[in-house]
């Protein structure tokens, strides 16, 4: 019974932020326009590269276009986040109000993030559909049901992984009011090393190997490999193991940061 009530509480938070996200329509539309510009630039780049010969780095045209457009949708889902507000909540003392409410702050921020992700996901699907229609792009869909299942599972793990990373960075707000800079650096690094704009296997082998030791390739590149059915079963199993390892490790670290942070939280600014 308590579980259902808890679910309703966080569903309500999700719904509130969904409404808030769509309330400022001009800002929302401009934000989507900006995303479309980035997509257009990378679509044009790959289009020009594939115009010279039918394939590029073992990707044929449908595969590469599916990667570029698919990763754009995944980026809008995985990288959409409002965790930057965590540091603000801490630094301005707003966290006190949440600590007094009957909510779990971690689940609260996750619900807030999910609403942001849903809005971005729907918008991104529409944008990609329009772009595909205008330029006559054909997607390469997975042919096996199992590929869909693995893809969706890897995506769920990727969302969790990114949220945990961002939650940890947000918790830096307990120790410094300057977490914005390191967060900016982390976001840029993750976006590049996740394969958000291009498949990572076009990079030199040494860099690919180095990147695979980090969690970032498992945010976009790994799910897209599964979607394109380019990953053999051994790679899928190994990928899930790595995702699981990072999620457990980061969850422990996030809890450690949170408990230590709340212990020394002084509610300055509230």
């Amino acid at each position: 019974m308590e579980g259902i009530s808890s679910f309703r509480k966080y569903w309500f938070i999700y719904w509130l932020y969904w409404q808030e996200g769509l309330q400022q329509r001009a800002s929302f539309l401009m934000e989507r326009f900006r995303s479309l510009v980035v997509l257009l630039s990378f679509y044009s780049l790959w289009s020009a590269l594939l115009a010279q010969k039918g394939s590029f780095a073992n990707y044929d045209r449908p595969q590469m276009m599916t990667y570029v457009l698919g990763s754009s949708i995944l980026r809008s889902l995985v990288f959409a986040s409002r965790t930057s507000e965590i540091a603000g909540d801490i630094n301005h003392g707003r966290l006190s109000a949440y600590l007094l409410k009957p909510v779990n702050y971690f689940t609260y921020t996750f619900s807030r993030d999910l609403s942001e992700k849903s809005i971005n996901l729907f918008s991104s699907i529409i944008e990609v559909a329009i772009l595909s229609w205008v330029f006559g792009i054909h997607f390469q869909w997975p042919t096996h049901v199992s590929s869909w299942c693995f893809f969706l599972a890897s995506l769920a793990f990727a969302v969790t992984l990114y949220f945990l990373l961002c939650f940890i960075v947000g918790c830096w707000g307990f120790w410094t009011a300057e977490s914005g800079g390191p967060r900016f650096l982390l976001e840029l690094f993750l976006e590049f090393s996740a394969g958000a704009f291009f498949p990572l296997d076009i990079l030199p082998l040494s860099i690919q190997t180095a990147l695979k030791t980090l969690p970032s390739p498992y945010l976009i590149f790994f799910p897209m490999r599964i979607f394109l059915e380019r990953a053999p079963m051994t790679e899928i199993v190994q990928g899930f193991r790595v995702q699981f390892f990072w999620i457990i490790g980061l969850a422990v670290l996030a809890r450690w940061f949170w408990v230590r942070g709340v212990d020394m939280y002084g509610a300055e600014g509230s």
Binding site: M30, S41, S44, L49, Q52, K53, F56, E178, G180, G181
Partner: protein
């Protein structure tokens, strides 16, 4: 007159510098982020050219020059016009009214309200790499091509100035449009690649509507001796007309300004 404005700029720059050095962690993160972004993109370009010989007819060094020129113009524009990014807040919080009564050109005061020293640090390695890449294009490198490149870069910065003034005018006029400058920044990113990769419609937009191609692609094409006399004419026309239009727009916006919050 010039001395007075230079003194004001130095004063504002010193204030900005003190603020930035007071936030070492944040500034360090932003600075590293900017450098990492450029380094990663160059790595991406190098990786692409491991699999192909050319992009839209350009070799790796030439494509890198397009990307670096985009950075040079973008960073210098941010360095000099960073204050424009905060104009909406200035208007909303009443600081704009305070600037209006100061004995200094209001546009100058707003534009230089913030001087981003992180951009100073960023532009130095970018200029260094640009110079290095130019030496890797020996068939184009000459005193004349360097002069052409510099003149067209300055022309590009004039257009950037015009766009920033127009954005500032819109903010004063409407007290809205927080995202406008960011839309310009994102459209500007289309200039990271040679304009030749885009479809005809997009290319026309990038030449005549938001002249990113004139700002970024033209200097590189000038360096590579690929510009026709008509392109030169177009470049001059775009910068002078956009600047004149933006200044007119700014004048009208400030004339209609009736104070918001002071």
């Amino acid at each position: 007159m010039v001395k007075k404005y230079f003194r004001i700029w130095v004063q504002l720059a010193v204030m900005s510098f003190k603020i930035q050095t007071g936030h070492v962690v944040a500034s360090g993160g932003y600075l590293l982020g900017k450098l990492v972004r450029i380094a990663f993109f160059l790595l991406f370009l190098a990786s692409i050219f491991k699999h192909t010989q050319a992009l839209a007819g350009y070799r790796m060094e030439e494509v890198a020059l397009f990307f670096l020129t985009f950075n040079v113009i973008d960073i210098i524009a941010q360095l000099f016009f960073r204050g424009i990014y905060g104009i909406r807040a200035l208007v909303r919080e009443g600081d704009f009214d305070y600037f209006l009564i100061q004995p200094v050109q209001i546009l100058f005061r707003v534009a230089f309200n913030t001087v981003d020293f992180l951009d100073v640090v960023t532009v130095i390695p970018v200029l260094g790499v640009t110079a290095y890449v130019m030496t890797r294009i020996p068939h184009a490198l000459s005193l004349t091509s360097l002069l052409i490149y510099s003149v067209l870069c300055i022309n590009g910065m004039l257009i950037a100035l015009a766009i920033h003034i127009a954005v500032a005018a819109l903010a004063v006029w409407t007290q809205e449009l927080d995202n406008t400058i960011w839309i310009y920044r994102d459209v500007m990113t289309l200039g990271r690649f040679p304009v030749d990769i885009y479809s005809t419609v997009v290319r026309q937009v990038l030449i005549y509507v938001v002249p990113v191609a004139v700002m970024v692609s033209f200097p590189v094409k000038g360096f590579l001796h690929q510009l026709k006399p008509s392109d030169w004419l177009l470049a001059c026309l775009m910068s002078t007309s956009s600047l004149a239009l933006a200044l007119y727009f700014w004048k009208e916006a400030t004339r209609h300004y009736t104070s918001v919050s002071s």
